[in-house]
Amino acid sequence: MGALQSLPGKPEYVDLAEKTGFSFEQIGILHNRFKQLSHNEETLLRDHFNDIPDLACNPIRLQIIEAFFDRRNFRQNGEGTVEEIGFKEFLVVMSHFKPPSLHMTQEQRESIRRDKLRFLFNMHDADNDGTITLEEYRHVVEELLSFSEALEKDTAKSIADAAMLEVASISMGHMEPDEFYEGITFEHFLKLLNGFEIESKMNIRFLNMDTTTLCK
C-alpha cells in the first residue's frame, strides 16, 4: 500500500515533516497527488488547478487557486504572488488545514487559530493592504453567490454592506458621522470570528491511505 512509499530515509521528507507537521505517509500521498496534478513536472501552475474537474463547480474556485500562489501563505513573511509553486509550497499551504492534535496547550491552540484565520484573511484581502475593504468584501459575497441564477446583484452588495456594518459596530463601538471605517483589519477579523471555533472547523482529514487512484 502507501506505506512502502514513505521511506523514512528520504531526507527532504524529514525536513518537510518537521516544518509542516504532517506524517511521512501523508507527505508521500500528497506528493503523489502533486505529481498527478502537475503531470509529473516539478512545479504546479494555475492551469493545472483549472484542470481539476470537481473544482469547476466551486463558486470560490479562483480564490482558492489564488491562495496557493499567494506568498503570504508560505510562512516566510513574503508578499505578492508567484506564478508557479513547488511541492514544498504546496505542502505548506495544505498544512493550514491540519487539525489540532489532542494534547495541546492553550497557547498552541491560540496560535493555530490565528494561523487559520490569517489564511482566511489573506484570501479576502486580495490587494494585500492589510485590510479588507468594502469592495473586497462585496467581491467575496458576490463570488459566494455567483452560481445562483436568479440573483439581483444588489442583494450581494447589501449583504456585504450589512456584514461590514456589523464588523464596524463590533470593532469600533462609537464613530462620529464623518469618520470613515477603512476596512477590516486582522485584529478586527479575529474579534469578529471569535466565537466561530475555527480550529475545529477548518480541517481536512488527511488520510493515511493513498486514494489518488480513486479520483481524477
Partner: protein
C-alpha cells in the same frame, strides 16, 4: 397547617403559595381518586350502554312514580366525566409546573423533572393513603399520545449541522453502546442471580437479557428535561441527545427479539442472524417511512398559499401518521418521526407564512411541555401504585451495573472513536456523556409491557429505582458538576451575518481543498448532496420564487424579517435595546463619487410582507396611543397632538433603527444625513433607471405625481425640522400632516430597512 404557621414568620410570601399548592394537591388527589373509580369501572366492563339504560329506567321510574317539576338546574356529571377528568389532570399538572417557577430558589437546585416526580409521588402516596387505587401509566397512552409530541419537537428542531457532523460518533454510541450495555448488564445480572440463589435462582438468561435491554437505553425525554436546563455546549448536547434518539431502533429490535425468544425457549444461530437483519430493517425502514411522509408533507405545503390557517396541521398530522405507520410494522417509530421532521423542515419553512411558522413552533413546544410534565407526574404516581417486589441485592446490583457499564462503554468507545474524529473528545467530554446517560419513562413503559408476571414485579422495581437514581441524583448533580469541571457552555450569541458568510465560505473552501487533495471526503459528499438538493428537490417542493433562493439570501431575508418583527413587537412603548454602537452606514461607505447605486435588496414579496407587518403595527400603535395617551407622562395639553407627536417620534425612532442592518443596534445619534436620506429620496421612487437617477429604486406601484409633489414639500419641511422632533412642541406642523402620509412612511420605512443609501450630506448641504 401548623407547619405552615411555623414557617409564616420567615417567609411571609411563601405562605400563600404553599397554601395554594396544598389546596391544589388536595383537589388533584380527590379528582384522581374519583377518576380511578371511573377508569377502573371502564377497565373492568364496558358499562356504557348498561349505564345509560339504567339512567333511562331511573328517569322513567321517576316519571311514572310522580310528576316532578321541570328541573331548572340539574347536575349530570357522568355525561362529561372522562374529558373532564382528563382536562382537570392536565390543568392541575400544569399548575404544579407553574407553581415551581413562582417559588423562588427551588429552580436552581432541583431540575423540574425531579420536582414533578416528587409531586407524582406525593399524589400517589396520598391516594394510596386514602385507600383508593392510583392510576398507572398506561403503556398505550404513553407510547401513542405522550411520547410523539416530545420526539416530534426534538426532531423538528434538531440542529442539523452538528448532528450530521457527529453522525458517526452518535451512531457508534447508540448502537454499539446500547448493545454493550445490554449484554454486560444482562450477563452480569444473570451471574449475580446464579451466585445469589434463593429467590433469584429462577431467573433465566433470556429474561436477564430482556431486563438488560430495557434498562440500558438512554431516554430522550429525561435527557431533554435535564440537559435543557444546563445549557451545555452544542457538541455534548447533540452527542447525548442524538444517542438517546437513535438507540430506539436497537431497543425495539432487542426487546422484540428477546421477548420472542423467551416464548420460543431456544435460540439458534439463524435467529441471531435474523435479529441483525431485523435491526437494519427496523432502523432503515423507520427512516424510510419518515422520509416519505416528510416529502409528502413538504409537497403539500407547496400548495397551501391560499389556506394558510391549516398549514401547521399538515406538519403535525403527517408526522403523527409517520409515527403510527412505523409502529404498525414494528419499525422504529421514533426514528421515523425524527426523519419526517428533519426532511420536512427546510421545505416547509420556505413555504409557510411567518405566522404558521410561529404557530408550528409554539404548538410543538406546548405539546411537548405538557407531555413531559404528565409523564413525570405519572411516573411518580405509578411508582407508588404499582406492585413492588423489593429485592435488595437485585436492585443495588442493577444500579451499580448501570453506572459501571455506562462508564466503561463510553471510555472504550471513545478510545476507538477518537482515532477517527478530527476533533477528539476529551476526558471531560467523556465524563459528561457517561454521566448524562439518563433512563426514563420509556424504560418504565417497556417494563410494564412485560408479560412474565413472576419476575415482572422485581424487574419493575429495579427499573424504577434506576430511573429515580439517574433522574434525581444524576439530574440534580450534573449542573454543579458542569460548573465544577468548567465544561464549555452554549454560546449565547445569535447567528450573525458574518458567521453565516464564513460558514458558507468555509464549506466551499474545504470542499475545494478536498478536491485538490484528491480525497472524496465528508465535504465533497455534502457538497454533492447540496447541489442535488438545489437542482432537483427544491424545485419540486418549494413554491414560487423561493425555490431558487440561495441559502445566504434566505438567511439574510429571515433575519430581516426577524428584525422587523422585533421592532414591531418592541416598537412603541418598550425600552429600546441598549445601543452599543453609533456606527451607521455612512461610516463605511466610501466617499467616492455618487456612483449609481440601487437600494433594494429584498424581493418584492418579502418587502410586501414586511411592509404589511409595519403598517399593521403602526396602525396599532396609533390606536394604542389614542387610548393610552393619558398615561403618557410627557404630557402636552393637546391630547391629539401629543399622540401625534409621540407617533412621530416613534416612527422616526423606528426609521432610524431600521436604517441599520439586522444585527447591528441602531444609531442613537440624530444623524441628519441618515434621516434625510430616507425622506429625500422619496421623490425618486418611480422607476429603476440606472442612467438617469443616481439612486434608483426598483419599480413599484407608487403614488402619483401630485402626491410626490406634496411629498417633496413635506420632505424638505421635515428635513428642515429634523432636529425638532425632540422638542415635541411644534404641534401645528405635526398636526398638518395628513393621514395618507402613513402609506408613504411605510414605504420609506421598508426602503430604509435595507439601505438608507450613501451619505448625502454633501448633496443637501
Amino acid at each position: 397547617k401548623s407547619a405552615l404557621l411555623r414557617c409564616a414568620p420567615r417567609w411571609s410570601s411563601f405562605l400563600p403559595l404553599t397554601g395554594l399548592m396544598c389546596v391544589l394537591l388536595l383537589v388533584f388527589v380527590s379528582v384522581a381518586s374519583a377518576s380511578r373509580d371511573v377508569v377502573s369501572e371502564n377497565n373492568e366492563t364496558w358499562r356504557g350502554p348498561a349505564g345509560e339504560t339504567r339512567g333511562d329506567s331511573h328517569n322513567q321510574t321517576n316519571s311514572t312514580a310522580h310528576k316532578k317539576a321541570f328541573p331548572v338546574l340539574s347536575f349530570n356529571y357522568e355525561h362529561v366525566r372522562k374529558p373532564f377528568e382528563i382536562s382537570l389532570w392536565i390543568l392541575l399538572a400544569l399548575l404544579m409546573k407553574l407553581g415551581f417557577h413562582i417559588i423562588p430558589g427551588v429552580q436552581n437546585i432541583v431540575p423540574e423533572s425531579c420536582l414533578l416526580i416528587g409531586v407524582g409521588l406525593l399524589v400517589g402516596g396520598i391516594i394510596k393513603a386514602i385507600g383508593e387505587e392510583a392510576p398507572v401509566l398506561d403503556t398505550k397512552l404513553f407510547f401513542l399520545y405522550l411520547l410523539p409530541p416530545i420526539i416530534l419537537d426534538a426532531g423538528y428542531f434538531l440542529p442539523i449541522r452538528p448532528f450530521t457532523e457527529n453522525m458517526g460518533t452518535i451512531l457508534v454510541f447508540a448502537v454499539v453502546g446500547t448493545l454493550w450495555n445490554t449484554f454486560f448488564i444482562g450477563g452480569m445480572i444473570y451471574g449475580v442471580c446464579r451466585i445469589e440463589g434463593g429467590q433469584l435462582a429462577s431467573v433465566d438468561p433470556l429474561s436477564c437479557l430482556l431486563f438488560g435491554t430495557i434498562v440500558s437505553a438512554v431516554d430522550p425525554v429525561a435527557v431533554l428535561a435535564v440537559f435543557e436546563e444546563i445549557h451545555i455546549n452544542e457538541l455534548l448536547h447533540i452527542l447525548v441527545f442524538g444517542e438517546s434518539l437513535l438507540n430506539d431502533a436497537v431497543t425495539v429490535v432487542l426487546y422484540h427479539l428477546f421477548e420472542e425468544f423467551t416464548h420460543a425457549g431456544t435460540v439458534t444461530v439463524v435467529d441471531a442472524i435474523l435479529g441483525v437483519v431485523c435491526f437494519f430493517v427496523v432502523s432503515l425502514g423507520g427512516i424510510l417511512v419518515g422520509a416519505i411522509y416528510g416529502i409528502l408533507g413538504a409537497f403539500t405545503s407547496r400548495f397551501t398559499s391560499h389556506t394558510r390557517v391549516i398549514e401547521p396541521l399538515f406538519v403535525f398530522l403527517y408526522s403523527y401518521m409517520a409515527y403510527l405507520s412505523a409502529e404498525v410494522f414494528h419499525l422504529s417509530g421514533i426514528m421515523s418521526l425524527i426523519a419526517c421532521g428533519v426532511v420536512m423542515r427546510p421545505y416547509v419553512e420556505a413555504n409557510v407564512s411567518h405566522k404558521s411558522y410561529t404557530t408550528i413552533k409554539y404548538f410543538l413546544k406546548m405539546w411537548s411541555s405538557v407531555s413531559e410534565t404528565l409523564i413525570f407526574i405519572f411516573l411518580g404516581v405509578s411508582t407508588v401504585a404499582g406492585p413492588h417486589a423489593w429485592n435488595w441485592t437485585f436492585v443495588i446490583v442493577t444500579v451499580v451495573l448501570c453506572l459501571v457499564s455506562r462508564v466503561l462503554g463510553v471510555i472504550g468507545l471513545t478510545y476507538i472513536i477518537n482515532k477517527f474524529r478530527i476533533v477528539k473528545l476529551t476526558k471531560k467530554d467523556q465524563f459528561i456523556v457517561a454521566y448524562g446517560g439518563l433512563r426514563g419513562a420509556i424504560a418504565f413503559s417497556l417494563g410494564f409491557l412485560l408479560t412474565n408476571s413472576e419476575m415482572k414485579n422485581m424487574f419493575l422495581t429495579a427499573i424504577i429505582t434506576v430511573i429515580f437514581f439517574t433522574v434525581i441524583v444524576q439530574g440534580m448533580t450534573i449542573r454543579p458538576l458542569v460548573d465544577l469541571l468548567a465544561v464549555k457552555k452554549k454560546k449565547e450569541s445569535k447567528r450573525s451575518i458574518n458567521e453565516e458568510i464564513h460558514t458558507q465560505f468555509l464549506d466551499h473552501l474545504l470542499t475545494g481543498i478536498e478536491d485538490i487533495c484528491g480525497h472524496y471526503g465528508h465535504h465533497h459528499w455534502k457538497d454533492k448532496l447540496n447541489r442535488f438538493n438545489k437542482a432537483y428537490v427544491k424545485k419540486w417542493l418549494i413554491a414560487g420564487e423561493r425555490s431558487t433562493e440561495p441559502q445566504l439570501i434566505s438567511f439574510y431575508n429571515k433575519m430581516e424579517m426577524k428584525q422587523a418583527m422585533m421592532l414591531v413587537e418592541s416598537g412603541s412603548t418598550a425600552q429600546l435595546p441598549t445601543i452599543v454602537s453609533s456606527v451607521s452606514m455612512q461610516n463605511i461607505k466610501p466617499r467616492g463619487p455618487a456612483r449609481q447605486r440601487a437600494i433594494p435588496s429584498i424581493s418584492k414579496s418579502r418587502e410586501q410582507e414586511i411592509r404589511k407587518i409595519l403598517r399593521a403595527n403602526l396602525q396599532k400603535t396609533r390606536q394604542r396611543l389614542r387610548s393610552y395617551s393619558r398615561h403618557d407622562l410627557m404630557i402636552d395639553p393637546f391630547e391629539d397632538n401629543v399622540s401625534e407627536v409621540r407617533f412621530r417620534r416613534q416612527r422616526v425612532e423606528m426609521e432610524r433603527r431600521m436604517s441599520h442592518y439586522l444585527t447591528v443596534p441602531a444609531n442613537r445619534q440624530e444623524t441628519p444625513p441618515v434621516r434625510k436620506v430616507c425622506f429625500e429620496s422619496e421623490h425618486k421612487v418611480y422607476t429603476y433607471d440606472d442612467s438617469k437617477s443616481p439612486r434608483g429604486w426598483t419599480a413599484e406601484p407608487d403614488p402619483s405625481p401630485p402626491d410626490a409633489v406634496s411629498l417633496l414639500n413635506e420632505s424638505s419641511q421635515r428635513a428642515n425640522q429634523s432636529s425638532e422632533h425632540r422638542a415635541k412642541h411644534n404641534d401645528e406642523l405635526r398636526a398638518k400632516v395628513p393621514d395618507e402620509k402613513e402609506e408613504q412612511d411605510q414605504l420609506k420605512l421598508s426602503r430604509c430597512l435595507s439601505d438608507p443609501g450613501p451619505n448625502k450630506e454633501e448633496d443637501l448641504s
